[in-house]
Every structure is written in structure tokens, then in C-alpha cells.
Amino acid sequence: MSGFEFSARLDLGDFRLDAAFTGAERVTALFGPSGSGKSTILRLIAGLLRPDEGKIVLAGRTVFDSAARINLPARKRQVGLVFQDGLLFPHLSVRQNLLYGPWVRRAPRPASFERTVDILDIGRLLDRAPRHLSGGERQRVAIGRALLSDPAVLLMDEPVAAVDQERRAEILPYLASLTQEFPVPMIYVSHAMEEVERLAQKVVRIREGRVTET
């Protein structure tokens, strides 16, 4: 089962989130203006934030359930998270960044390594340091790193927002071919309709911490 289920309430004082949605599609987009709570939802799914109340099921596995007192730590959730600015480890090479997930889990080098590197077209960057990459290259490596950690779900937090228009057009095709090649469900956060239309089969609209339309 590749779907997911999300419902959570969280009170951060100046911001309140109360949202629920499900998804069985390949790509679900969380769409809404900045500050509407999209990134917060991803952090809740990833286990970097804890809901006051709620239930999160990923690929048939309950990772959080306040009623049943289940709360898996981030490292056990099998979530591939791609942040807005990539967040590559600056002290590691591109190759080491890509293989960080398997390495810390003492897993063998993933069979999909070559293919992932191919699709993302980052083969010639493998021995470089992240600081010598362009914004677009950095994001592609970040996506590859998330994919190679064998995620049950891929979370993309505006992966192209920090990249200029031209580069954006350069990354989106990669994303599109990735979603076809890898059967990993993806939750894609964006405030740009063009990306959402291009990638997602389902759109969840978020406004001020609430789901307004799915």
C-alpha cells in the first residue's frame, strides 16, 4: 500500500494548524500561500515537529498516533525530505551526500544508484563539494539523496523556490521523470500553480493552517 493519511492539530502560539487529508496518488501537492502551514505539515510528517494531537500513516505504517501513543523518531519514519535550499552536508562530497542514508543505516549501496545519478544528470558532479554546485545542481543532488535513502514517501518542501526561473525549468523535467521511474509517493509543497499542475495528480489547498479544498 502506498497511500498516506494525515491528520494533525498543532498550536504554536502565533500559528495554529488543524488539517487532515489522505492521498493514494503518485504525487500529491500541498498548495497555498507562504505561511499557510505547508512546511509545518511536512515537518510533522518527517517527525521534526510533533503534533499536539493526530494520526499520521505512511505506506500503511502508523508513524504517529496520539491516541495510541505512537511517535516514531525521524530516523525511523523512512521519509525522504528535500528542503527549499537543499541542505547538503557541506563537509561531504556529492557522492558522500548521496550515499549518506545507506551509510548511516549500514545498508549496501542501493542498486538504483547509477540510475538515479543518470536521471538527475549529476554523474559528473559526484566528486565535487556542495559549495561548487549551482543552485539547480544542489537541488538535484538533494532529491537524489532523499531517493537513495529508500523512503516510503518523498517530501518536497518547495524544492525549486530558491532557484531562479530558468533553473526551475531545468529541474522540473527531472522531477517529472523521477515520479514516473520511482514508485515512491510524493508530497510536493509549492505556492506556484505551474509546478503543481505539471506534477501532481491531487492538489490539497491549504490556507491559514486549514485544508480548504482537496
Binding site: 541542505l87 552536508f89 535513502s149
Partner: protein, 229 residues
């Protein structure tokens, strides 16, 4: 320059004491810096002040405190002597402890600034990729703090080279055991007609201190270059 055996002894002892002081205090400095950077607890400001205390306290007071604590009849010193056979007072190892305490604020500060500058999401990313907390620390947090650790260590090393007040109070000024460059200069100043010898030792002291400051600055720059994102 031709140094007498006594002078060589003082120079070598100074460097040995500083190296042992710095290496020995690294684990403690990393632990304290981590607690100060990553945790919040009531009374944290007191811990922060205590760490910096050796910077502002008259060194003779620090030395006397060490004597009371770690001297043969001191609270901790008595235990170390009786149970473990370790004596620090009036030994070069005691000089290293005094130097470590005096250099500690620099070391903690360097590491802590590095810890503070680390994007917490970077550690979140490591955890998300499957790394348990201790592995996140070893593979992300600590490597990113290496420039701060090195520059702090070099400053602490420099501070140790110049340590005098706490050292002479805690371990006295015994030739061959605790007589560092600073104590040797002090001892020489008590005798007449030794200006040239004093000047030579002062020059050595100047060179060592200057070199460690330059090294610290270079390490900070290299670290900033390497970790820029």
C-alpha cells in the same frame, strides 16, 4: 640562538604542558559547548559565567582554588592521591591542569560558536536519512565544528604558553618540573645582570604566542572557506 640546557628545559616544558592541557581538555570543552548550544535549562547563565570565570578572575585566585581542590590535602586531590596514586600539586601535570583551566574558556567559546552556527535542519536532514542521534553528532555536528574547535584549541594553546599566575600558585616554580618560560623569566628577574637571558626567553615567548594567533586566524579562514554553502 644558543640556549642553555635549563632554557631548553623551560621551553620544552612550556610546549609540553600546553599540548597536554589542550588535548586533555578537548572532550570536556566539546561536552560543555554542546550543552550550552543545544540545551536550555534554568541556571544556564550561571554555567556560562563559570566557564568564563578564569578569564576575569585573578590567576592567583584560580591557582589557589586549584591548590585547595587538587592539592595533596585538597578535597579531590586527597582522593586522587590515596585511591589512584595521582599527584598534581608541584608536578608538571598540575601545570597542565592549571593551563587547561585557563585556556578552557577560549576552547568552549570556539566550539560553541561553531555549534551555534550549524543549521539545525541539517541535523534534521541527517536524522531523516536514518541516522541515530549519536551518529548525527559524529558525522554532521562535530565535523562542522572542527574549524571552531581548532581555532579555540590554538587560542587555548596560546593562553597556556603564557600561563603564569595560576601555575606558580598551584605547582610552584621547580626547575625541570614546573619551571615554564614564564616562571623562568620571573625567577631570572630576581637575580642581577641577566637582561640578555631574559630578553631571549621573552623573544621565544613572543614568537610562540604570535605563531599560535596567526595559526588560529588561518584555521578560522580555512574553515569558513571549506564550509561555505
Amino acid at each position: 640562538m644558543d640556549f642553555t640546557p635549563e632554557e631548553w628545559q623551560a621551553i620544552w616544558l612550556t610546549v609540553k604542558v600546553a599540548i597536554v592541557a589542550v588535548i586533555g581538555s578537548v572532550p570536556f570543552a566539546v561536552a560543555i559547548a554542546w550543552v550550552l548550544s543545544y540545551t536550555r535549562f534554568p541556571g544556564k547563565i550561571v554555567v556560562e559565567a563559570m566557564v568564563s570565570l578564569p578569564l576575569v578572575l585573578p590567576p592567583v585566585v584560580t591557582g589557589y582554588a586549584l591548590l585547595i581542590l587538587l592539592g595533596r590535602h585538597g578535597v579531590v586531590g586527597h582522593f586522587l592521591d590515596q585511591e589512584l596514586g595521582i599527584v598534581l600539586a608541584f608536578r608538571w601535570t598540575g601545570a597542565a591542569v592549571a593551563a587547561a583551566v585557563m585556556g578552557f574558556p577560549f576552547m568552549v567559546r570556539g566550539i560553541r560558536l561553531s555549534f551555534d552556527a550549524i543549521d539545525r535542519d541539517l541535523e534534521g536532514a541527517a536524522a531523516g536519512l536514518g541516522a541515530p542521534g549519536w551518529l548525527v553528532f559524529l558525522t554532521v555536528t562535530l565535523p562542522l565544528a572542527v574549524p571552531g574547535l581548532l581555532s579555540g584549541a590554538v587560542l587555548a594553546f596560546g593562553r597556556s604558553l603564557g600561563e603564569f599566575g595560576a601555575t606558580i600558585t598551584f605547582v610552584s616554580n621547580i626547575p625541570g618540573e614546573t619551571r615554564t618560560i614564564a616562571s623562568a623569566i620571573y625567577a631570572l628577574l630576581q637575580t642581577p645582570d641577566v637582561d640578555s637571558v631574559v630578553l631571549r626567553l621573552c623573544a621565544v615567548s613572543l614568537v610562540l604566542s604570535f605563531a599560535s594567533l596567526i595559526a588560529s586566524e588561518l584555521l578560522i579562514r580555512a574553515g569558513q572557506r571549506r564550509l561555505r554553502r
